[in-house]
Point group: C2
Chain length 413, copies 2
């Protein structure tokens, strides 16, 4: 790749405006760059009640066993199981009701689920299997030892790790942590993301990307666990972009627009001027004019201004970087389902193509080509198929993995 | 079902405390009740930028075509394709660079993606395939008619419905709507959910459900598109529950705790006193003491106090009700994947069992029984399997649908 060498030897980036990319980086190289520039952020302490969706930064251990002592696991009468042997609808037996901590033989104590067992009791007879007559209890069923009883430590042993660090917390995790009497937990802090969005280019209403990219990227950043630290809307002048790049306090900077090879594509030069532009031009469709670099310690991703290209480059690179900063699972947050290809999907060797597809009778049908259709094609689709660089495409009938936007689509068979 | 008849004939609910459920409603009946008591809420108007995850209450149409006129879809030189025929690395051709609205023969105009085409131009030659020498342009490649050009209406025809009402908005939907110049959209308003949570029962530290259920239910409500209108923490007295039930303005009321057959299980009686208790006792494990009814027009779900039972009853009934109010897809928001059963899963005919399972070498291994293991079993699991009432369980090796908590687990093959 002569162009790359040239860039490296000269120690600075070429101005490729109105010249074009002399070469492009592979998606694999760009992904390696992402993984090399995204270290999990530090932890912060927050309330458990606000921790759903956050990534745990410490192990949660059980200080004591759950339950800490033998207890009833259902409502009913605590009994000695041996006293119930032979009881049935046609052979009721009589016990004495006794509100006591120590159960005498042939007696029963009403308990609710969660209550400690009276000493001597070893099973719970459901209320349905008995009828009280004053202090006498007629029982219509037998219970085996241990029935309706939960033993000390049966759910969790004291000292056991209940939830491991690194886990993105689910609602039931929040419940379990709260049940341990823990009020605050350490979680990875949310990445602060700066969005620098250039307004539509100056040819009338033809290019609405400035309007589209700001709200779309905000929603994507929120999905991947980040918080928008600032949204800088500008006209795409180099000075403006430079100023927005050098401000402190961002963990990740996304520059949307002005990344291509036109005369007004100032974003790569602004990044080269402020920090380092390390990758520009990727063998990806759509999204090929994306770039990567750093300003200080903050990774900077250049995302193309066309909304479909912007979305594609975000999904392929920015989302992964953000999820890694947030400590989340780095792969795309979509369920994957195998489906047969409908009409042929065409690609070029050396280029990674992201095809939006609809599921039609269970088959993946491409919507337009990799580059056509605009953002509307990503909206109309049920998901997408990524054709790796070494392939020329997929023939009809080939089974391919489809990234599906919605869990519901992944469930249909 | 004699018990049901009795309830209906007497027009009021029995006090089943310390008697037990004489019969239980099927999960199917309870689900029908949920579907019969959950009508999609009305719409409200909000900013597009805040609409991700909300459900659209109107169709979004394209007022004009996208693009509204022929335009360049990539950076490069706008040319007449016929002028490029035969050009190649070993046969460069010469064109004249011309900044013009009407392209003369043998000329080329530099354009950026999104710019309108000069009249006469019918293709875009990438910058990489040309080299400028002052006003002269040497070209090294040919382009076919239409290459790099996007025709009027190619993405979207004027008047087309781009996004249909009822859709839960994805980030790319937000981008597309914003790109149309639409700033506000009508979406289904968020259901207001009141949580009435009873503190642990009065036997020391054995029952932490009061601590667990509040934060867990808050996280589940947020996941399913609701907003917690009020969280009422009480000690489980009937008066307290009654007071919290009659307050206005909730779209859904969840009462957690005090739903069972013990002496202190006041929630069903509080609901019967304030409104109507229509279902109590469900043939479900865990979560069988759940109940359903109404206060005024608000549906009320009684969820058991044990955190595992509470979680199970929420997932089986409350979440569905909430998603329907919010206009979302009503089924469980988990991807489903088929897996082979590992160790035998035991159920009883007539009872629906929710087994938490781990995926071990691709097999679904039950964690404890349906009722044992506490909330820790739901935390340790990768998802769950629902055994329908007519089945006695699943034999090892049978393929069953597993509801998976995480998209990533659904992607592994």
């Amino acid at each position: 790749m002569p162009g790359n060498e040239e860039r490296t030897q000269r120690g600075r980036i070429e101005d490729i405006r109105e010249r074009g990319f002399s070469d492009r980086f592979s998606v694999e190289k760009a992904t390696d760059w992402v993984d090399g520039h995204s270290t999990k952020l530090t932890a912060e302490e927050i309330y458990v009640s606000e921790a759903a969706g956050r990534v745990l930064a410490e192990n949660i251990e059980a200080a004591e066993a759950i339950p800490p002592a033998d207890r009833a696991s259902s409502d009913g009468y605590a009994v000695r199981s041996e006293d119930t042997v032979g009881a049935g609808d046609y052979n009721p037996l009589d016990l004495a009701i006794c509100e006591c901590d120590e159960l005498p033989p042939a007696a029963a104590t009403p308990v609710v689920a969660g209550a400690p067992l009276p000493r001597g009791a070893d099973a719970i007879l459901p209320f349905e299997s008995a009828r009280a007559h004053g202090a006498a209890l007629e029982i219509f069923g037998a219970v085996a030892e241990g029935c309706g009883v939960e033993r000390e430590g049966q759910q969790v042993q004291a000292g056991a790790v209940l939830i491991e660090r690194g886990r993105m917390l689910l609602p039931q995790d929040i419940g379990l942590i709260a049940s341990l009497g823990i009020h605050c937990v350490h979680v990875i802090r949310r990445p602060r993301v700066r969005l620098i969005v250039s307004a539509p280019k100056s040819h009338g209403d033809l290019c609405p990307q400035g309007n589209a990219n700001g709200p779309m990227l905000s929603a994507l950043v929120a999905r991947d666990g980040g918080v928008v630290e600032a949204m800088v809307l500008g006209t795409g002048q180099r000075e403006e972009i430079v100023q927005a790049l050098v401000a402190p306090d961002a963990d990740l900077i996304l520059v949307a627009g002005r990344t291509g090879t036109g005369w007004d594509d100032e974003a790569p030069l602004a990044l080269a001027e402020t920090g380092e532009l390390q990758i520009h031009g990727i063998a990806l469709r759509p999204g090929g004019s994306a770039g990567m670099g750093v300003v200080g310690t903050a990774p900077v991703l250049l995302l193309p201004g066309d909304p479909l290209d912007c979305w594609s480059a975000y999904e392929m690179f920015a989302g992964r970087l953000l999820r890694r900063l947030a400590g989340r699972y780095r792969e795309l947050p979509y369920p994957v389902r195998e489906a047969e290809v409908g009409r042929k999907i065409v690609s070029a060797i050396g280029i990674t193509d992201l095809y939006r597809v609809s599921l039609v009778d269970g088959r993946a049908e491409a919507i337009g080509s990799a580059e056509s259709g605009g953002l509307a094609s990503a909206v109309r689709a049920d998901g997408f198929v990524v054709v790796p660089a070494p392939l020329e495409g997929y023939a009809p009938g080939v089974r391919v993995p489809v990234h599906l936007y919605r869990a519901a689509d992944a469930s249909r068979t």
